[in-house]
């Protein structure tokens, strides 16, 4: 294990920022909304550190301001040492650089994580926040919705609908732990959750959703116009677990991975990178327009 970590450090040392820039497949525009997506990350193990080091390297060339965590932020015990070993130390470079982490709760997370300041949950199990804007140029009017998919109470659903229908949001991006669509053979899609959330997402113009729980990377073919990402392999991996569902646009279940995203105007660019630095998926999603006065009717896309 020690040798693997040393090898990784050596590899990272050999990668120049210029080489990284060549590999970056996002526009990297000034003023755009840039963020990281990780899931199922909190093991404190060597795999988490290898991925975290790779993320830190990517951050040098693609300075995302914040990260969203799609749950299972800390596996096992949750004492002060665990927060240090499973979160603060692996992501120290990012934290020191001022990257803010916004967490959603996974099934391995104590709900009291919401009081941990570095997870920016403001003491709430579900919450919303707007991506920080740089300057007057609105390259990304983006609002995120962190949901507690472990406990989707009627109150949470009511809250979500109220927030989704609020005016002023361009991109509306929910993120939570359990995927509504997945080709995973271990868990698969959470159909009960889908029955509740999907109608709201469709009605209120959601274009992209991020989830975890499955320990691999998968981008689903758009379902009812919405692109679903599964990003649950930032520290855990279930090799060969993506089954033949016919829904997979791109899957990666042979290595650890994370996702970087950039939003500029009505375009969302994404790039999934594995622990070794190789790009495993990239592309762009265009935001569909919502016809004024009828949020369920969409054009474009």
């Amino acid at each position: 294990m020690r040798r693997a970590i040393s090898t990784t450090f050596l590899l990272l040392a050999l990668v120049s920022p210029a080489a990284l820039q060549e590999r970056l497949q996002l526009p990297n525009k000034e003023g755009s909304t840039k963020f990281l997506v990780i899931g199922d990350s909190g093991t404190g193990g060597s795999e988490q550190r290898v991925v975290a080091n790779r993320i830190a390297e990517v951050h040098k060339g693609f300075p995302f301001e914040f990260a969203i965590m799609v749950g299972d932020n800390l596996y096992g015990s949750e004492g002060a040492n665990d927060f240090r070993r499973k979160f603060e130390e692996p992501y120290k470079v990012l934290l020191d650089a001022g990257v803010k982490f916004y967490a959603a709760l996974g099934n391995h997370d104590d709900p009291n994580q919401r009081y941990y300041k570095n997870f920016n949950m403001n003491g709430e199990k579900f919450y919303t926040f707007k991506a920080p804007k740089k300057g007057p140029d609105i390259l990304g009017d983006v609002r995120f919705f962190a949901l507690d998919s472990n406990y989707m109470s009627p109150e949470q659903l009511q809250w979500l609908e109220k927030e989704l229908k609020a005016p002023g949001s361009g991109w509306k991006i929910p993120f939570f732990h359990h995927p509504l669509y997945s080709s995973g053979e271990k868990h698969g899609a959470d159909v009960a959750l889908r029955e509740q959330l999907e109608p709201l997402f469709v009605k209120y113009g959601v274009d992209v959703v991020f989830a975890g729980h499955e320990h691999f990377y998968e981008r689903l073919k758009p379902q009812k116009g919405i692109t679903y990402f599964v990003t649950g392999s930032a520290a855990k991996l279930r090799r060969g677990n993506i089954g033949e569902s016919g829904m997979t646009a791109k899957g990666f279940d042979t290595g650890y991975a994370f996702l970087i995203v950039e939003i500029t105007g009505d375009e969302l660019y994404f790039q999934a990178i594995e622990a070794g630095g190789k790009t495993i998926d990239a592309g762009v999603i265009k935001r569909r327009e919502v016809v004024e006065g009828n949020p369920s009717a969409k054009v474009g896309g």
Binding site: G76, S77, E78, A80, H108, D109, Y115, G123, H178, D190
Partner: protein
């Protein structure tokens, strides 16, 4: 689904005299009474009585919880996770002391257990209920560390099973610091601040 939830809540909030529309499941457990007595008194819904009783037991527990919470380090946003843990453990200790004689069934009485099973049954029965049941029991093999005992700590290394939204919609609403959770087919009442099992319903889903 949400309609049934609203119905259950309205049972709690309204008087004990209920319109028939909300009481489709209410007659099954009611023993018959003499015709004269039935005509003399207004009809009462036995489920409503149970829900009121349940709410009272929950309120009593929360009154104790809130009182003891004031004696524990406050649970507020902090960069120091040790403070979160200290608040959790202190409250758990105080609740255990205060409820040292608590037993299974103090909140989920046999009658309330039956009612809750009945409320959940439509969501887990038959082919349509398979997904819900599967979601509840999906990772049961990871729950061996959970001790099903009143006042037992819910272990850190055991995942919390997802409670499907249709199940939550079917059950009476709980205050913020209490949650319904499942350990295989047993439903527990979890105090999330103290991380304690308050009570449980064995074989909650059939």
């Amino acid at each position: 689904m949400l309609g049934r939830f609203s119905c259950a809540v309205s049972l709690l909030l309204s008087s004990m005299v209920l319109p028939a529309a909300c009481s489709s499941e209410s007659h099954a457990s009611r023993t018959s009474e003499p015709a004269a007595a039935q005509s003399a008194a207004p009809k009462t819904n036995p489920d409503a009585e149970l829900l009121v009783d349940f709410k009272k037991r929950i309120d009593d527990y929360m009154a104790l919880h809130n009182k003891l919470e004031k004696q524990a380090p406050p649970l507020k946003e902090t960069k120091d996770p040790a403070k979160i843990k200290a608040s959790q453990e202190t409250l758990a200790m105080k609740i255990r002391e205060a409820r040292k004689d608590a037993r299974q069934g103090d909140i989920f009485t046999p009658e309330i257990r039956q009612l809750l099973r009945r409320l959940m049954y439509p969501e887990v029965k038959g082919r349509e209920g398979r997904e819900t049941k599967a979601a509840i029991t999906e990772e049961s093999h990871e729950l061996k560390a959970v001790t099903l005992k009143v006042n037992a700590r819910y272990p850190d290394d055991a995942p919390l099973m997802t409670v499907p939204p249709n199940i939550l919609a079917a059950l009476p609403k709980l205050p913020e610091d209490l949650e319904y959770r499942f350990v295989s087919r047993t439903m527990i009442l979890l105090d999330t601040h103290a991380n304690l099992i308050v009570d449980f319903v064995p074989n909650a889903i059939q």
